[in-house]
Amino acid sequence: MKVSYYPGCSLHGTAKEYDQSVRAVSRALGIELKEVDDWSCCGATSAHSTNFKLSIALPARNLVAAEKDALDVMVPCAACFNRFKTAEHHLKADKQLKGEVEEIIGGKYHGGIAIRNPLDIIFKNIGLDALQERIKKPLKGLKPVSYYGCLLLRPPEICEFDDYENPVIMDKIMGVLGADARLWSYKTDCCGGSLTISRTDIVAKMVSKIMAMAREAGANCVVTACPVCMANLDMRASDNVRLPVFYFTELIALALGLQGPETWFKLHNVDPRPLMKSLALI
């Protein structure tokens, strides 16, 4: 299949291992990516917190750019995904707003393409059976908790993603990779990502609680699909509870035997290599 690809700002910076692992996994699974032409930032929390119209116009500019390719758009960053889906929702529901936004961005929005996260594309379009067939190195001994956070799931009528209180897509993918995904009740709890720079003190408490719960569930690592969660969980947990954190695509790549995982692991703040070596996975 072919999709257009909106990496978003993080994936060109602090989340570059997410970008590289999404591209590697897509290639291996036969998903062709065409990057959206001359994309710009989605505005994230800063836009919607302070200026409603700006928060719709910024993603709308990118949706219009993506529509030119007439392909569904893959958005790996959960924050961008949420802003795209929210903009789509408002543009489809409010004709007057749509007119104003089209004037602001200087382009017509048609709404003909679907906004997709790679988790959902791998689960629905590739399928667990096809993924299973390609596994070269089962992730035996890895006990992740799946952490979905907020932005893929809420609000559910906008995100249209997975069960919003107990999502299972990532857990199922982890199972296929041979990992033992642990059950826990913090998979959709907020990590406080949008406050990570401005109120680090509060965020450190939120993250440490999530990590403590992951440990209590018997996990030896955390897996996520969000660069904001990743940065936050990987950097803000207190020393006594921290665990390695992975992008789900890094783990898929490892299980598929692709090139790259060790290079990506070096980029993490909490070095996952001692754990992976102890399990003979690298």
Partner: protein, 175 residues
């Protein structure tokens, strides 16, 4: 003249806040309740009672992390997350400013960085924030570590048609 409640309802443009029957499910599920000045339920009650200054001057509206757990669980579909956006925007528009000054300064730095490059360039955005907030030294070690790992690049690709992005900022009146 509109009451504060009417002003907020108009801007939310959805289920009116009167629909809230104060079951406090929002507050019980809110991950930031522990850090908030007034819990979310109390904010709704204060809006209903017209306590505009106290609400717009509170830290609560800035500490909301927009996780949307409240709206997802509200039995009456009151869009509390949207309400928080509306209150923040009212605090800015009415000149009240932000009780949590650094949170607003972060948002301003973030948006001004988009206006400058079309995309966020993390190192320059952080410099903008640090100059604005005066919080110069926190996360320095982390920043240097990331720089050495090649995660912070000053030359990350920018949006070529920067004019179209700047136009969005002008037309939505974002400084």
């Amino acid at each position: 003249m509109q009451t504060f409640l009417e002003q907020v309802n108009e801007k939310i443009d959805g289920v009116p806040l009167q629909r809230c029957y104060h079951c406090r499910k929002c507050t019980a599920g809110c991950p930031l309740t522990f850090a908030m000045e007034y819990n979310i339920n109390k904010v709704i009650k204060m809006i209903q009672m017209g306590r505009k200054n106290e609400v717009l001057n509170s830290s609560t509206i800035w500490l909301c992390a927009s996780c949307e757990t409240c709206i997802t669980r509200c039995p009456n579909e009151v869009d509390i997350a949207r309400m928080m956006d509306v209150l923040r925007q009212m605090a800015i528009e009415t000149g009240v400013g932000a009780k949590e000054k650094n949170i607003l300064k972060f948002h301003e730095s973030f948006l001004s960085n988009i206006k400058m490059f079309g995309r966020i360039n993390e190192p320059t955005m952080m410099v903008q924030y640090k100059l604005k907030s005066g919080d110069l030294f926190s996360d320095m070690g982390m920043g240097i570590d990331m720089f050495l790992k090649g995660k912070l690049s000053l030359s990350s690709p920018k949006t070529k048609d920067l004019k179209s992005v700047k136009k969005i900022f002008e037309k939505t009146k974002q400084a």
